[in-house]
């Protein structure tokens, strides 16, 4: 099982994401933003950071990186894709996921251990969790406030595409406290908090994040 992790100029969490992929039981394959090449991987992670310096809008330039042409085509063909933080912003800008992420309502960069509830355990990235399981992973963002129009929000709720929701207060003003969403097929997931920072007991708030990475291995094995 080979899971690619894309490095854009300004990516910060690509190395942590590759480590999490390995701990989840897959081979981590570095992918480069400037290549039209997914190197034959079975799944892709778009990591956190500040791709292209967050110029214009977060994720707006990364969307047009050569590798994204391949990621978008693969995602539309059913390949599992997980976007974390900046990766979530890139997936929204790429129209692989609905909605957008704007500046936190309190205008401060937040960095904390955050409890989220797994609202959908049927996606390629969350099958290792029990429905409604509460997990604590790291949240660190300045522009993590999820917004979409009312019809889109109702559709996401109705179709079970809300993947994770903040518990114990809304840390960034996200509509309906949404922390993560999926596409209709469930292979593409965007997540504002960082599961890759919660995969080992040595650092971070525990190992609750590991399930995202074991989930994709299980879903690829059963595919």
């Amino acid at each position: 099982m080979r899971v690619g992790v894309v490095t854009f100029p300004g990516s910060l969490d690509d190395v942590d994401a590759r480590r999490a992929v390995r701990l989840g039981g897959a081979e981590a394959v570095p992918l480069w933003h400037g290549d039209h090449d997914l190197k034959g991987v079975d799944a892709v992670v778009l990591p956190g950071g500040f791709s292209y310096g967050d110029y214009l809008r977060c994720g707006a330039i990364a969307r047009f990186a050569p590798v994204m042409t391949e990621v978008v085509a693969a995602a539309q063909g059913g390949m599992p894709v997980l976007g974390i933080c900046n990766g979530f912003q890139i997936l929204c800008e790429s129209h692989l996921l609905p909605g957008a992420l704007i500046r936190n309502d309190h205008r401060k960069f937040g960095c904390l251990d955050q409890t989220v509830r797994i609202e959908s355990a049927t996606t390629a990235w969350t099958s290792a969790y029990a429905p409604d399981q509460e997990v604590t992973i790291v949240l660190k963002n300045g522009e993590g406030s999820y917004v979409a129009d009312l019809d889109t929000l109702d559709r996401l709720e109705g179709e079970g595409q809300v993947v994770a929701r903040y518990v114990g207060g809304n840390p960034n003003g996200s509509q309906r406290a949404i922390a993560g969403v999926s596409n209709a097929a469930g292979n593409v997931v965007g997540l504002m908090p960082h599961p890759e920072h919660a995969v080992e007991d040595l650092c971070g708030p525990g190992t609750d994040g590991l399930g995202f990475f074991t989930s994709v291995v299980a879903s690829l094995a059963s595919a």
Partner: protein, 81 residues
Amino acid sequence: MARVVVDVMPKPEILDPQGKAVQGALPRLGFTGVSEVRQGKRFELELEGEATDERLAQVHEMAATLLSNPVIEDYAVRVLS
């Protein structure tokens, strides 16, 4: 040569934390009486040749695909000269 301006603004229903921060700073500097500030972006595009209908249609396409995100922003195109 034609200079075209694209103004991009957050949609009215979208929270604008930057505008709120600017509004909050004004009274601290002694400026009163401002009930709302919305912050947007202004792009100035220098076109080769005239701003024909066809070129302006392209500018609209640029504005809709890259310069703005239609989920959260509105844009307006105008020709300066």
